[in-house]
């Protein structure tokens, strides 16, 4: 099937097998290997990208269902040569070790910062709570990091959220 989608600001028209996930489309066919595959089952967050500005697991999205959508991957976060503030903060705070979860953490954090609203641990559901370390930990728990860089990830995100 032929689909057209916008990837990191570029229009791409591709012929895809209906079984192909968005993640495999990016990694195996479009040469965008920044998005990682950690589980292929929506359990780790390594594949997180932004679909129309919202964070989503690319391994759980079928490519054919993305016709017309606007995808941002880690390769598209920076503004040309200027790194996204999250990217700079991750480097500065050593928010990764092996780096394999990092693209997902970054896209997830970028999506999360734009979300607002209460989370499962917010006391007052009517408010838009401040992004404290505790709120960030809760909202970022869909992104596993086996290297255990969590404290630094939280520090980096909280700094950018301010």
């Amino acid at each position: 099937m032929e689909i057209t989608l916008q990837v990191n600001g570029t229009r791409r028209t591709v012929e895809v097998d209906p079984r192909v996930s968005l993640l495999d489309l990016l990694r195996e066919r479009l040469g965008l290997t920044g998005s990682k595959k950690g589980c292929d089952h929506g359990q780790c967050g390594a594949c997180t990208v932004l679909i129309d500005g919202r964070r989503a697991n690319a391994c759980l999205a079928l490519a054919v269902a993305q016709d017309g959508s606007d995808i941002t991957t880690v390769e598209g976060l920076a503004d040309g040569d200027r790194p996204h503030p999250l990217q700079a903060a991750f480097i500065e705070h050593d928010a990764f070790q092996c780096g394999y979860c990092t693209p997902g953490q970054l896209c997830s954090a970028a999506g999360m910062l734009a979300e607002g609203g209460p989370s499962a641990i917010t006391d007052d559901l009517a408010t838009d709570p401040a992004l404290t370390a505790e709120e960030v930990r809760e909202r970022m728990s869909g992104n596993l990091c086996r290297c255990g860089a969590y404290p630094n990830i939280v520090t980096a995100i909280v700094e950018v959220a301010r």
Binding site: D17, D40, Q87, F96, G99, R137
Partner: protein, 673 residues
């Protein structure tokens, strides 16, 4: 300092094994055994071969040619016997991943099934004493009279702890891209912890000279031991590429990882401790039962830390192994020390309670002058300093040992302590340093699996050369570089760094180039007991209505020689402690006794810590000046962080609740039982 490859990693430019762009790449997908033990009677590939895009099917119907002495795990498709459920018995190569996966399901394997035995128990009749335990330790040691020491003791503890099978679960699943050239040379992009080791193992399995094989690994998404040596997936890519005459990519799924890439053996550990009226140990006996597969003998060195930790006139350590119809276990972060210290340090806590002594004091009192089992002097030993500094920072003084009495709302609060230790060894390595374009290029076949090796080696070279780090470029991750040992056993930086220092010193003398090989220097070093030590403190809260345990604070103080880079070191320690928290509270792979294999094999059912589980972790270290290690004065730090964490948390849970859970993980169900 910030990681040298940091920019590449945050922009998605860092290339991992499955990501090298290779013209004409194809995909192999494994077919796994559906029985735990028996014989393959036939493999029918006709249906698979007729499916779209399929290039070939590999199986024992037509065994690929390998070296006759190939390791039985790596020598794929050579035998008809099935050793464990999940073993790779066939594979399909196709033009796309989707086609390979679909066709793999169409391969019909029929078996003659035999009854299996997959359950580790301490009275298993098959338990035996292995020749040695990993990597080269005696299986048993005995000094003094343990029975007499226990009989004479004023206080004794006789307890059995168990730890379940655990899986490393690096975030990057094992992946390999194999490319054969027209003249029979092989290039392998592999997710591995050691390119020289991987090259040698691949060449040996194929029966090829090592120079015909090149292994490249610029970035690897964690390993924690699971990528220490090559696993069957690597050989699958190599053999499939040879059979298909095309480059082949194998990216194992998370589920497949559980079956074919190794795991930490479950253990059953009996600890008998005796102490006199003052708390001085009179006897220590540590006996371990653990498992391996029928294919290989993998004997984890679980009781070895007891040989190092505490002064006692009578000390016995013993390992017993049983070969079951299970997947082959392998290395997982601090193999041996990690499960062994969980049991020893939990038992020490129980002894402190029996004696009526503070657990920090008990450990300080029993700190030895020389290594308890062998009598060798220590190159340096600062466990006591770690315990005291940790106690000071944590606010340990004045702790009321009474369990189950501190309450905050619905939470019961408790604190616990445990010691950490890990050997500080080195392996021979080569390296070169060359003046190029006004700076230096350092070459060594090291691998950076997230440890920060690239950055640490840059700093080591820059310090030796007396230049700023920007003037040094370190090349690693390629077996064509000067041969180096794998990143494992916390030996990477010490081994590679020694060679880098020597090469840089020679380059300074020469003005152009230096080359080093540390084999002789390591052979010539003094016979000393070299170990890192540490102390870990935990504060937990337990909801006794739900059994939920939350770790409010973890503090680790380590004595690991000179710390080469503070930022990287802190990340390593914290990462190890995080995995230790997982071990304490959630990590367990459950053996499927009915069908063999593991019942849980994905990240929805094998839980690792998530961001919300980590409230506060602090890691710090004490200055240690040890001249008997290596030119950097550094001890490895990759593993010690996980050693002792689970015991500290378990001890804190006891302090909070008065419930001693002796089987990991400490789940709500076990606390409420």
């Amino acid at each position: 300092m910030n990681r040298i490859e940091g920019h590449d990693k945050v922009t998605g430019r860092a290339t991992y094994a499955a990501e090298y762009p290779v013209e004409g790449v194809t995909y192999a997908y494994p077919v796994q055994a559906e029985i735990a033990r028996g014989r393959i009677t036939s493999i029918d590939a006709a249906g698979a071969l007729a499916m779209p895009g399929v290039l070939t099917v590999l199986s024992s119907e037509d065994p690929p040619e390998l070296a006759p002495d190939a390791d039985p795990e790596l020598g794929l498709f050579q035998r008809r016997e099935v050793a464990y459920r999940g073993q790779i018995v066939a594979a399909v190569v196709a033009d796309t991943y989707e086609n390979a996966r679909a066709a793999a399901r169409a391969v019909r394997v029929t078996y003659q099934e035999d009854p299996h035995d997959v359950r580790l128990r301490s009275d298993h009749p098959g338990l035996y004493r292995p020749e040695k335990v990993n990597p080269f330790y005696p299986a048993d040691t005995e000094k003094g009279d343990v029975a007499a020491g226990l009989a004479a003791a004023a206080f004794t503890v006789d307890v059995t702890y168990t730890t379940p099978a655990m899986h490393n679960n690096p975030m990057e699943p094992h992946a390999t891209l194999a490319v054969w050239s027209g003249d029979g040379d092989l290039t392998v992009y592999d997710a591995t912890q050691g390119v020289s080791t991987a090259r040698d193992m691949i060449a040996k399995t194929l029966g090829l000279p090592a120079e015909r094989v090149r292994v490249v690994c610029r970035h690897v998404g964690g390993g924690f031991g699971a990528k220490g040596t090559i696993r069957p997936g690597t050989m699958l890519a190599v053999l499939a590429a040879r059979a298909a005459g095309r480059p082949v990519k194998v990216a194992l799924t998370r589920q497949q990882l559980f079956d074919v890439t190794g795991y930490r053996t479950p253990t059953i550990q009996r600890l008998r401790l005796g102490a006199d009226a003052d708390g001085r140990l009179t006897a220590v006996d540590h006996e371990v039962a653990e498992q391996s597969s029928t294919l290989i003998e993998f004997a984890e060195q679980t009781a070895t830390p007891a040989r190092t930790m505490y002064e006692t006139p009578a000390l016995r350590t013993a390992h017993r192994l049983v070969r079951l119809d299970v997947a082959s276990p392998s290395w997982m972060r601090a193999p041996g020390e990690c499960p062994g210290m969980y049991a020893l340090e939990s038992a020490m806590d129980e002894l402190a309670i029996a004696v009526g002594m503070d657990p920090v004091e008990l450990r300080v009192l029993n700190d030895p002058e020389v290594e308890p089992a062998g009598g060798r002097p220590f190159s340096s030993r600062n466990l006591v300093a770690c315990l005291l500094e940790g106690a000071r920072r944590f606010g340990w003084e004045g702790r009321d040992p009474t369990p189950g009495v501190r309450r905050q709302g619905r939470w019961l609060i408790g604190t616990g302590v445990a010691s950490s230790t890990y050997p500080a060894l080195r392996r021979p390595s080569q390296a070169t340093a060359t003046v190029e374009n006004g700076g230096y290029v350092v070459r060594v076949a090291a691998v950076d699996l997230g440890t920060g090796a690239r950055t640490a080696l840059t700093r080591i070279a820059a310090t030796t050369l007396g230049v700023p780090p920007e003037q040094v470029r370190v090349e690693l991750g390629d077996s064509d570089l000067p041969a180096a040992p794998l990143a494992g056993g916390s030996m990477g930086t010490a081994s590679w760094g020694s060679a880098v220092v020597a090469a840089c010193e020679e380059a300074l003398r020469d003005g152009k180039h230096g080359a080093a090989d540390t084999t002789d220097a390591i052979k010539a070093q003094e016979d000393l007991a070299r170990h890192s030590f540490g102390a870990q403190f935990a504060r937990v809260r337990v909801d006794m209505d739900t059994g939920e345990v939350r770790v409010s604070h973890l503090l680790g103080i380590f004595a690991a020689g000179r710390i080469i880079d503070e930022k990287l070191a802190r990340s390593q320690f914290v990462g190890g402690m995080t995995m230790g928290l997982g071990m304490a509270l959630m990590e367990a792979t459950v053996t499927d006794e009915e069908f063999g294999g593991f019942s849980n094999h994905d990240l929805a059912q094998y839980h690792v810590p998530v961001c919300a589980d980590i409230e506060r972790i602090d890691a710090a270290w004490i200055e240690e000046d040890d001249r008997h290690l290596n030119p950097m004065g550094a001890k490895g730090i990759g593993e010690i962080g996980i050693v002792g964490t689970a015991a500290a948390i378990g001890n804190a849970v006891y302090h909070a609740t008065g419930i001693r859970v002796r089987d990991l993980p400490i789940t709500p169900a076990r606390l409420l039982a």
